[in-house]
């Protein structure tokens, strides 16, 4: 018989329950309030009192309300039918809920109960299997959705039977597996899994060795992220975290995008709901929604469910990774999740760490990031989860616990700068502060040189150096004045401006410029490097600014054109003429500069 209890205390969404039997940490219970069942999670136990965080408003709760413990942890339901869904943080299907307003205690089934899926068996009776092995295949949209041995299956089992090809619902038994001790288990197309436990159904997790193309130049060219890698985007409000994440979700080269809207604005999710069903995936031509799952727990939704939402997203990502897909998981904003932890920890009167965040925040963040990664599956296939979270530092100051903890875990750092945002240099990723640790991986460097072109990594380093020198030159000009520095400083500064305007800056709202395929990025990098490597002849600093503005303008116009179309080529010709005007031909002595 399951444990029951009665409410004895309430402060905000922290409720104390006196229980009549065993309870487990993180166990889920339901509190009944006038016929409505409110879901809650155990977060502390002392004696016969369980402290639970309620995933709903606790208004109207009173001493004596009945509670019923489920014996299960917070879980998600995994199976075909998740693709294109809009879930809340607890994986309730938001579209199944009635009415304009959310009703307390309304929980909806995340999959389709009655829908028949066309199942094709992959495993044969007699074969030995372990958790995560593929039993069959169903078409979920365009995805070959693998039906897998339940992740909680212990040890090695033997397939006793598999149903023949045909149409089944998620609850129908499709396979029977005999475990080592002889017990038989009926497996359907769905399974449940506790969100806070890593899914480890893979052979091994090698270091990431290839790049995930995102179409965003400041990422792909300057600080590429690895497939299976991690990155984070800290930045003050209004600097472009969300726009950058949306751009990633639209353009990244992934099979599946999971977007966790964690404690941020509802209208931003509405934008996705509205646009994704209409927008095309630039690579496949399918609608973006066909490769997207949204987990939506906006800032006005219950705080405890906000914490759950990132785990829900990660677990769904792990599920799809185990079927051999390339998953991109995005969370906006992980700071809200940390704040949810803080609110609860304060209510429980725990000893606070820095800025009143819980002491174990760094550990929580790092174990979350470590769930991503590239994996080799047991059947020789591969899968990956690339994770990019945003961080919203209080006061825009990066010396705060969430940013600092995340910096220790994530390998790419895309720092958004207020200055760049103020001067509308979008995306406002600071080219000097930001980094990708993956550029230091020899296997990644090798991959880049092989796939993009020999010497690519060296070229990128050159770009970075030019940016740094440009910044130094600008600082000198600001201190000494335009005519207080040699003309070459002005040239250095302007060359860095070219890189900034043409490579770094990218108009997320222009349908051409929004996404740049790697081939085009390479073309433009070469073009820009060619100019940066050239020597120019100027009379004095006065003419330099105007000249390079013209060059930048032409290059920008190229960015707005379809790659290599007539107009593109026309502008390019004009550009070449402009360059030739001032370029010191190789034959001329260098002294002309």
């Amino acid at each position: 018989m399951s444990t029951r209890g009665k409410v004895v205390g309430v402060v905000a969404n922290l409720v104390t329950i006196e229980v009549d039997g065993p309870v487990a940490q993180n166990e889920i219970c339901y509190i009944t309030l006038k016929g409505t069942r409110l879901m809650a999670e155990v977060i502390k136990i002392t004696g016969k009192f369980a402290y639970v965080q309620v995933f709903e408003s606790t208004r109207g709760l009173f001493v004596g309300c009945e509670a019923e413990f489920t014996g299960r942890l917070l879980e998600v339901t995994l199976g075909p039918g998740m693709l294109s869904k809009n879930y809340d943080g607890l994986q309730n299907d938001l579209d199944k809920m009635e009415g304009v307003f959310l009703k307390r205690g309304e929980y909806t089934f995340p999959l389709e109960e009655d829908k028949k899926w066309h199942f094709t068996p992959l495993a044969k009776p007699g074969s030995e299997v372990v958790a995560g092995d593929w039993i069959g295949n169903v078409k979920e949209g365009w995805i070959d959705h693998k039906i897998m041995v339940p992740f909680d299956f212990q040890g090695t089992g033997t397939i006793k039977s598999v149903v023949s090809e045909g149409d089944y619902t998620v609850k129908d038994t499709v396979a029977v597996i005999t475990s080592a001790d002889g017990t038989e288990r009926n497996c359907s197309m769905m399974m449940r899994w506790p969100v806070k436990v890593d899914v480890k159904c893979y052979k091994n997790k090698p270091r990431p060795f290839k790049i995930m193309e995102t179409g965003i130049r400041t990422i792909d060219t300057m600080n590429p992220i690895a497939e299976g890698g991690t990155g984070f985007i800290p930045g003050p409000f209004g600097c472009g975290k969300t726009v950058l994440q949306h751009a990633l979700s639209k353009n990244a080269d992934a099979d599946l995008i999971i977007i966790v809207a964690c404690g941020e604005r509802a209208n931003e999710v509405v934008e996705i709901f509205t646009e994704f069903p209409e927008l095309d995936d630039p690579r496949t031509g399918r609608k973006l929604m066909e490769r997207t799952i949204i987990i939506c727990n906006t800032s006005n939704m219950p705080v405890a469910a906000r914490e759950a939402s990132v785990y829900t997203g990660m677990t769904i990502a792990e599920y799809y990774r185990t079927m051999g897909l390339k998953v991109l998981l995005l969370a906006d904003s992980t700071s809200r999740w940390a704040q949810a932890l803080r609110e609860m920890s304060n209510r429980m009167e725990e000893l606070p760490g820095p800025d009143a965040f819980p002491m174990d925040l760094p550990a929580i963040i790092s174990s979350f990031y470590s769930r991503s990664g590239f994996v080799n599956l047991r059947n020789g296939k591969t899968g990956s989860i690339t994770f990019i979270g945003t961080v919203s530092p209080a006061g825009g100051n990066l010396k705060e616990p969430v940013t600092e903890s995340t910096k220790k875990s994530a390998r790419c750092f895309y720092a958004l700068s207020q200055n760049r945002a103020d001067s509308k240099r979008y995306p406002a990723v600071d080219p000097i502060d930001s980094y990708s640790k993956y550029l230091e991986y020899p296997e990644i460097a090798e991959y880049l040189d092989k796939t993009i072109g020999d010497g690519w990594v060296a070229d990128i380093m050159k770009l970075k150096d030019m940016l740094l020198r440009g910044k130094e030159a600008r600082d000198q000009i600001n201190i000494l004045g335009d005519d207080g520095v040699p003309v070459s400083y002005h040239i250095l500064f302007n060359k860095a401006e070219i890189i900034d305007f043409v490579i770094l800056q990218q108009d997320a709202f222009d349908h051409v410029d929004a996404s740049t395929p790697m081939e085009r990025q390479k073309y433009m990098v070469n073009k820009v490097l060619d100019i940066c490597n050239a020597d120019f002849n100027f009379e004095g600093f006065q003419e330099i600014g105007a000249y390079f503005k013209r060059v930048i303008n032409l290059l920008k116009q190229m960015n707005y054109q379809q790659f290599q179309n007539e107009q593109f080529k026309k502008i390019e010709e004009e550009l070449e003429l402009s360059i030739a005007e001032k370029r010191v031909s190789d034959l001329q002595p260098l002294a002309a500069v």
Partner: protein, 442 residues
């Protein structure tokens, strides 16, 4: 809030703090209202039989034998058409001498809109102020505050916006409002003949600060009633949210919660988000737009209140005095409307986004040139042109006393570009340049 005959009366208070009382009571529900010594109060904590109540007007003079009556329900408001044209206090009681409002009684601070039921905001709110319409276009269903130092004329600008916005109903939530400002709004709306479209909930500086905590929920419950039941376009004005947050910190400090940054409660983000996220475009056509005021102290936007607000709202509008033109302007640098993308170049002329960006970029160049000048360096010829441009741009477009339509704003932009710059310097997309460029051919 009258007591009813069958309600149980308690007369033994165990504990009194500055903001709360604790008594032993049974059958009490979380967040329900009570009357303690004739003062409105709300249940904030239940521990066994011990119930802690937050006393809105404060606990001065409350004796341990004071009368406590539980009302059995959370704070509510009676909603109906009769609300229009009326002024109330934080509890929803009339302060205009008029009768009590009759209507459907609803709990304030009700549930959130299911995100999948929201519609994407798409209707532009024209204010005539170019600093807003051109650079930071507002859209129905948006939530946006003015970030301003207390000496900025934010009340005037907000009232101007409200009156030009063509809203069906304007709900004013005044928190810690000076009596003068309260009367300013009242007279202004009256003179504009808009009084029958106004509903106001006002907590003035003469009222206890903690009462303010009820004002946003009262105002937004009213807004939801008109937007959902009557499918109306509702504009909700909340001023001053900084004073609201101050009240939150008073309560949390008195309840011994661990403060986070700037002695604000750790839940400040969630508390503010619950209010601002009530802004919505509803599927049936109604909408709630929230324009708020967050006063800054010494322009510091890293303080927890403006900082958390900025993370929640869909942009912010900064007012700043431009000494070059001796006028208050909407600062184009730090101001932002995050929803402008939904309408500019779509509901307005195609060149809108490019004109907006180019002008701000050139204005930024002018700022750079001014720094040069301040540091005692010579200006280039380009620098001088940007500075001249910036002044004219500020006077003709950024000043808050502008009242023109969007096309005129765009034409003015092109006029200034043509007057001061070359095509290259303006750097706008070729096809748009070809259509609108008003300067020399090259």
């Amino acid at each position: 809030m009258k007591t009813k005959a069958f309600q149980k009366i308690y007369t033994h208070i165990e504990n009194v703090t500055k903001a709360t009382c604790t008594i032993e009571a049974e059958g009490v529900t979380n967040e329900e209202m009570a009357i303690v010594d004739n003062r409105p109060a709300q249940v904030v904590k239940i521990a066994g039989k011990m119930v802690t109540l937050q006393i809105f007007p404060g606990t001065q003079g409350i004796a341990t034998d004071a009368e406590v009556v539980f009302l059995g329900k959370p704070p509510t408001l009676k909603v109906s058409e009769e609300l229009k044209g009326r002024f109330f206090n934080a509890y929803g009681q009339p302060i205009d001498g008029g009768p009590e409002v009759d209507g459907k009684e609803v709990e304030i601070g009700g549930p959130s809109v299911n995100p999948v039921r929201r519609r994407q905001p798409s209707e532009l709110i024209a204010t005539g102020i170019a600093g807003i319409d051109l650079n930071n276009t507002l859209v129905t269903g948006q939530k946006i505050p003015f970030f301003a130092d207390p000496d900025q004329p934010f009340n005037q600008v907000m009232a101007t916006v409200a009156l030009r916005a063509k809203a069906d109903v304007i709900v004013l939530g005044g928190m810690g409002m000076s009596n003068d400002d309260y009367l300013y709004y009242k007279t202004l709306f009256d003179n504009a003949g808009a009084l029958d479209r106004i509903v106001a909930f006002v907590n003035t500086t003469e009222n206890p600060p903690v009462e303010r905590l009820l004002v946003p929920d009262m105002a937004l419950t009213t807004a939801e009633y008109f937007a959902v039941e009557h499918k109306m376009k509702v504009l909700c004005l909340l001023t001053d949210m900084t004073l609201y947050a101050d009240a939150l910190s008073i309560v949390s400090n008195r309840m011994d919660q661990i403060p986070s940054k700037d002695s604000m409660p750790g839940s400040l983000y969630s508390d503010l988000a619950k209010i601002y996220e009530k802004a919505a475009q509803f599927p049936e056509g109604g909408s709630i737009t929230i324009i708020a005021v967050t006063t800054l102290s010494g322009g510091d936007i890293t303080h927890a209140i403006p900082d958390n607000t900025g993370y929640i709202t869909e942009g912010q509008l900064y007012l700043r005095r431009d000494t070059d033109i001796a006028k208050v302007i909407v600062d184009p640098f730090r101001s932002l409307s995050r929803l402008k993308q939904l309408v500019i170049g779509k509901k307005t002329r195609k060149d809108h986004p490019q004109v907006m960006n180019a002008a701000v970029r050139l204005y930024a160049d002018a700022a750079g040139a001014k720094t040069k000048l301040d540091n005692g360096f010579d200006l280039t010829e380009y620098d001088r042109r940007t500075i001249e441009f910036a002044q004219e741009y500020s006077r003709e477009l950024l000043a808050i006393d502008i009242n023109i339509d969007v096309d005129t704003m765009l034409d003015t932009g092109w006029k200034l570009f043509g007057k001061y710059f070359t095509r290259d310097e303006v750097g706008i997309k070729q096809d748009i340049m070809d259509l609108y460029w008003a300067g020399k051919a090259s």
